[in-house]
């Protein structure tokens, strides 16, 4: 690829142009991060009236307690399930919408709808649907002899938040997949068909490789979404329960910091989360991207 290089007549202009971005980054990322790191070495009472420096105590306690490790495991299960579920169903829907000739815009609009729903509202909707006492689905499931109570059953609670979080993100994935599918040249597919490739083979050997940049991009976005952006849904449906079964890392930061008022530990957890993001992004770009054909 060619690199474009613009030569500026003086040194002030480029600084002026990137200035706003730098300021935004400094205020909304660098400063809070620095504060989180600083707080993670301290112990504070809730009102912030007296603080003591405790060194790495907040971190060592984190890794010594089985709770945090368990939450990390749960987060992995959750992120993988949400990513798989939302990407596969979005791809299937995009393939279907791509084949529709008449009214495809109508279907597209309908499919994009969930993305416009605020996460908390989505959470409340699912909360109502699955509420063990007043919900519609538990009532219907009991007809099949399934007793649904995610207040007690951790597996069911996890299923619930995976469905809710995946549902919310299907639209986003759908849009990208649809655009990618539409940019696959028809001539290639027709040529393959003439050469005798069946629908499955055309899909495997032509379509999937051609949309792989989109798939790769969505993979990163979805894992990040599941790990960091599902807070509102969890808060509105299960609040991390029962017995911590849906208490994933990002929710734990909130629960320990804002409900538990243990700011030191909460900050230590956010710092660890930050490191996880950095590592994850690095691994993804370093190793996964090599296998993707642009």
């Amino acid at each position: 690829m060619q690199t474009k290089r613009t030569i500026f007549p003086n040194k002030g202009l480029p600084w002026l142009l990137i200035g706003p971005q730098l300021i935004v980054t400094a205020i909304f990322f660098l400063w809070p991060s620095a504060q989180a790191i600083w707080t993670s070495f301290r112990r504070e009472d809730p009102f912030g009236l007296n603080t003591t420096f405790v060194g790495l105590a907040n971190y060592t306690r984190l890794f010594d307690s089985g709770e945090w490790v368990a939450a990390a495991g749960r987060t992995a299960v959750f992120a993988v399930s949400v990513t798989a579920l939302s990407m596969i169903s979005a791809l299937v829907l995009a393939l279907a919408a791509n084949r529709v000739l008449r009214g495809s815009r109508f279907y597209t609009t309908l499919l994009v709808w969930p993305y416009a729903v605020a996460p908390v509202v989505a959470g409340v909707l699912w909360w109502f649907l699955f509420n063990p006492t007043i919900g519609l689905l538990p009532y219907m499931l009991s007809g099949f002899g399934i007793s649904w109570n995610h207040r007690v059953n951790g597996g069911q609670a996890m299923t619930l938040i995976v469905i809710a979080a995946a549902w919310k993100h299907v639209s986003y994935n759908f849009l990208f997949f649809l655009a990618a599918l539409q940019s696959v040249p028809k001539s290639l597919i027709e040529a393959a068909a003439i050469d005798g490739a069946g629908p499955f083979q055309r899909m495997r050997d032509i379509v999937l490789p051609l949309i792989s940049p989109t798939t790769f991009f969505l993979l990163i976005v979805n894992i990040n979404y599941a790990m960091f952006d599902t807070f509102a849904i969890i808060d509105a449906t299960t609040s991390g329960g029962p017995a911590g079964a849906t208490n994933i890392l990002v929710y734990k930061v909130y629960a320990d910091g804002f409900l538990g008022l243990n700011l030191g530990s909460s900050s230590a957890q956010s710092v660890v989360l930050m490191l996880i993001v950095v590592a994850l992004t690095f691994v993804q770009f370093r190793y996964v991207e090599r296998k993707v054909q642009y």
């Binding site: 112990r43 504070e44 007690v152 538990g260």
Partner: protein
């Protein structure tokens, strides 16, 4: 159109002019539903009695949410003058000396009388510092009681006028109710931590923690994994599996009230302040009121139950004019008439003797059978060290731990003993944190 708009704006500005001369006092509270409506009404009637101050009640969500919102606001220097804090937040608030303006001091500074001897012993004792000073204004105190569906009792062949007294009877009655098909479940409960552990311990005179349940110092440890608690949680698990008991969810147990209102569960244990909601929602059936059950093989004479509910705390860092308003408002709130109105409308305890006497002379208790169950239960016998209340820092978090261990018990991951042992261990770690942070 634009001209009309400007006209309207000017008119609004002119109208709101005089209102600006009033001192506004923010009051953050956690009362939703029927309770919230009544609270707003009390604030409005205070605002009508005088023109200098305007109390502005702001609903901030559940009790834990209100407390954390107030703390966050304090850190951001945006705190309200008055915040309603539930009883488990008491330890946290008392330790926050720089943040709190103690009520006894506020009233003295503003020249208002504040006679704490007028208040019920169990209430005022809960909120006093070791020197006997009352740090926050008792406002809504409650204690858990038992509600039951008389119609379902009759349908199951039970005498609707006889409530179960002991847990053995609760089990037998529930079994009969479920077997006869009168209801799907025997009983449910709000606030597992408060009702089925804290009050259970107090009623059976079992220590919840060392150092007089935390009253004697911060170096306290939990002891709620004793015989009676393990036995009870064992039973709850057994009853849940048999379909006699249904879990209503963590913290306050939001799913419990609908289970009772829809007649799915025949018995419901929750705060006496659920009375307003129960009466409002129990349109199709008769409700009975009774004290909480106890194990007659563990204790012959059950002790008093302990309080819940909340008090009003005053936060530092507001203007002096606002504190004048706070004092005037607290004076108004403490009057027997306002207290009696609040108590009778909501089911909260009559917290002063004058309130109870006023209710007696009005004939309220005679006209509303069951409305004095709570006050009888909390004042019965002589309070022991184990039944005078709890004073632990970070108790909100400990309750979360208890909820999650209870869920692990119901989910079959742990036995009652293991769940309570683990709750004690995790709870003690939280207490040590609090001790270290408040040395």
């Amino acid at each position: 159109m634009t001209r009309h708009l400007i006209g309207a704006l000017l008119a609004t500005a002119a109208l709101s002019g005089p209102a600006l001369a009033q001192t506004e006092v923010q009051w953050w509270h956690a009362m939703g539903g029927e309770l919230g409506a009544k609270l707003e009404q009390i604030a409005a009637s205070f605002n009508e009695t005088q023109a200098d101050y305007k109390i502005v009640p702001v609903y901030k969500g559940s009790y834990p949410e209100t407390l954390t919102a107030a703390i966050a606001a304090f850190r951001a220097k945006e705190q309200p003058a008055i915040v309603q804090v539930f009883e488990v937040g008491t330890g946290t608030m008392m330790a926050a000396k720089g943040a709190v303006y103690p009520v006894y001091k506020l009233m003295a500074d503003q020249g208002k009388s504040f006679d704490t001897s007028e208040y019920l012993g169990p209430v005022v004792g809960y909120y006093s510092d070791p020197e006997g000073n009352v740090l926050s204004l008792p406002f809504n105190s409650s204690t858990p009681i038992m509600y039951y569906n008389k119609d379902v009792f009759a349908k199951a062949g039970l005498d609707p006028e006889i409530a179960p007294k002991t847990w053995a009877e609760v089990e037998a009655f529930s079994q009969k109710i479920v077997d006869s098909g009168a209801a799907k479940c025997g009983f449910t409960s709000g606030w597992i931590s408060w009702v089925q552990l804290e009050n259970l311990s107090a009623i059976h005179d079992a220590a919840y923690g060392t150092r007089e349940n935390g009253f004697a110092g911060l170096d306290t440890e939990f002891t709620f994994n004793g015989d009676v608690q393990v036995k009870h949680w064992d039973n709850l698990k057994k009853w849940a599996d048999a379909g006699l008991f249904q879990y209503g969810g963590p913290v306050g147990g939001n799913d419990a009230p609908p289970k009772f209102y829809t007649q799915e569960c025949a018995i419901y244990m929750n705060s006496s302040a659920s009375r307003a909601g129960v009466i409002n929602n129990a349109k199709d059936f008769q409700v009975g009121f009774a004290p909480l059950p106890y194990y007659d093989d563990m204790i012959a004479e059950p002790k008093n139950s302990i309080i819940g509910g909340a008090t009003l705390w005053v936060l530092n860092g507001r203007k002096d004019a606002e504190y004048k308003g706070v004092a005037a408002f607290f004076d108004y709130l403490s009057s027997a008439e306002v207290q009696a109105d609040w108590h009778q409308a909501t089911g909260y305890l009559p917290i002063t003797n004058a309130t109870y006497d006023l209710g007696m002379t009005q004939g309220y208790y005679a006209a509303n059978p069951g409305s004095d169950v709570a006050i009888q239960q909390i004042t019965r016998g002589t309070p022991s060290v184990n039944s005078k209340g709890l004073r632990f820092g970070n108790l909100t978090q400990v309750r979360d731990v208890i909820d999650s261990e209870f869920e692990a018990l119901l989910g079959g991951q742990k036995t009652a003993k293991a769940a309570l042992d683990s709750a004690v261990t995790r709870g003690n770690a939280i207490l040590r944190d609090f001790e270290a942070a408040n040395k």
